[in-house]
């Protein structure tokens, strides 16, 4: 195998059809698989790297390790039977699936959700976002050898899972936001215990900032690495913190406010350098926004009132022919459900649009070229992708 050299004549030329002319028998190139099991918490996906020395010349994302055919399964289930399935599409932040699915069904069935349920839904979504960011921070630091950050963020994530458990009865898959409203109100003393958890989140976040973001090694490895060009945002469908780190305040909560976000006071966090460090920093600051939003929601939400709208008998529930698209801003970007109904008791088609679908495929394959092998894990994690929403 040839060692890395700045001599670009070693690198593959392009064939007439635009693909790279890589001759593996030449000894210049080596195939290297990153994943599907990797400590960098990108989940079970793999990148097939072709390297020359220690530089990547081509990367191809391979997914399918978590494919369970959710979209097909839902076509054979009644609308209420789909509800406990959807949360399983994204493990670390399942509530967006519940919200988007429920909102799509409600819109096509003409169901008006009570106001109090809107507030509780927003609370659940922000709690899930905070947990997802905590998982990300641990993964991003872990990809560069800082194992301790993951220990700390997992600790506060666990505290938030306790709050989820007392609110919904479950820690991971909550199955709480169902078509028509939410299952229950807040338990007694929830606000006080949530405030204790939020204080612990803020304290941990301060430690994370000092140990991770002020660390010379972390800065050296991430500043100026893995830059997303501004022109790629539309070409590759980049949304969420990946777009905000490039200086574009794309945030569905502000662009097309849903639930109660128009009544909450917040500004999307943006960065400008669009590298791995900036993306991590945008997410770290976004955790503080989450904390503020949870406090605002708990202070402003109505303390009593109905939680569920009147829905038809779920065993005989038919929805008229129609189609809609519902989106929300999850921790990774735009999450959406495209639902088509045909007048029967089953969805005709459900299509899940997860942000990882574009970030982990064409965007990652574009960004990985010319990267050093040792930076690949950090780049993969910095796009904050979860493969189940690619494969569904």
């Amino acid at each position: 195998m040839a060692l890395f050299t700045p001599d670009r004549s070693q690198y593959p030329a392009k064939k007439a059809d635009g693909t790279l002319d890589i001759d593996l028998t030449s000894g210049k190139y080596l195939k290297l698989w990153q994943g599907p099991n990797h400590p960098g918490i990108t989940g079970n996906m793999s990148v097939e790297l072709t390297v020359c020395g220690d530089e990547v010349v081509e990367g191809k994302t391979h997914v399918g390790y978590l494919h369970r055919g959710f979209e097909k399964l839902m076509e054979r289930r009644t609308f209420i039977q789909c509800f406990p399935i959807v949360c399983r599409i994204c493990v670390p932040e399942p509530d967006f699936n519940e919200y988007c699915y429920a909102a799509a069904v409600e819109e096509l069935a003409g169901i008006e959700v009570p106001e109090r349920a809107h507030w509780i839904r927003a609370l659940i979504l922000e709690m899930g976002r905070l947990n997802s960011y905590m998982m990300y921070l641990g993964g991003q630091a872990g990809a560069l050898g800082q194992g301790v950050i993951g220990q700390w963020t997992t600790y506060v994530r666990d505290l938030m899972l306790d709050r989820f458990e007392e609110l919904t009865g479950a820690r991971i898959y909550h199955m709480f936001i169902l078509p028509g409203g939410v299952r229950d109100g807040l338990p007694e003393g929830f606000e006080r215990r949530m405030e204790e958890t939020l204080c612990e989140v803020e304290r941990t976040l301060k430690d994370v900032y000092e140990v991770m973001f002020c660390n010379a090694v972390f800065k050296k490895r991430t500043v100026g690495v893995g830059v997303i060009d501004l022109a790629w945002l539309d070409e590759y469908g980049v949304t969420g913190p990946n777009a905000r780190a490039a200086g574009v305040a794309k945030d569905v909560r502000k662009d097309q406010p849903y639930l109660v976000y128009s009544e909450l006071d917040f500004e999307p966090v943006i960065g400008h350098d669009s590298d791995i460090y900036t993306r991590a920093d945008v997410r770290r600051r976004d955790v503080q926004v989450c904390v503020d939003l949870i406090r605002q929601i708990l202070a402003k939400m109505p303390k009593d009132g109905p939680l569920m709208a009147k829905t038809p008998n779920v065993l005989h529930w038919k929805i008229p022919r129609g189609e809609t698209y519902i989106r929300g801003e999850c921790s990774r970007g735009e999450y959406g459900y495209y639902l088509v109904t045909d007048g029967s008791g089953y969805p005709r088609r459900v299509n899940v649009r997860g942000p990882s679908y574009t970030h982990a495929m064409t965007l990652l394959e574009r960004m990985i070229v010319n990267l050093n092998i040792s930076d690949v894990a950090a780049l993969m994690v910095s796009l904050h992708t979860y493969p189940p929403e690619i494969e569904r």
Binding site: G64, D234, Y236, T324, R349, R353, L363
Partner: protein, 177 residues
Amino acid sequence: MMHALHTRLKALFPLGEFTEQRANLSFVTLPASHLRPTLLHLRDREGFTHLVLLTAVDWLEDGQFQLTYLLSNRAQRCDIGLRVMIGRESATMESIHDIWPTAATYQRELREMFGIDFPGSPRLHEDFILEGWNDIPPYRRDFDTLKYAEESYRQRPGRETHDPATHMKQQLYPDGR
């Protein structure tokens, strides 16, 4: 807002059925041959620069696939879905990967899951999720999931399957009353 956009588009392209789903979301049907100019017009003149998704719906009884191209205009805070109906038999559609490079992934998935061909789309024939699949594309409505599962997988010995209604009746009223 969406009605004004529809009027402007109608002056340029032969549009079909128009559905205003919400104040900021509408769907419009158009012929496959006019998809590319419509997409380019919406992207370059109307500000719909973000391809949200591209997917297919199988209308088996009509013998058609519906391709939905959902575009978003962030400045105007609105979305438009373009519906293109194509025949299910030897389904082929023009690729749009040169307009949005990210469309290549959607098209790869549609070829694998619905059997819709997009000539010229990058890596179209590489496996996306399924490996070594030799049955009909699984997301088509005529793919029988139950039959496939029964033929491909074995029941573990000792497991029984009950009809839920009969089973519960038996449990609650064992003497058959």
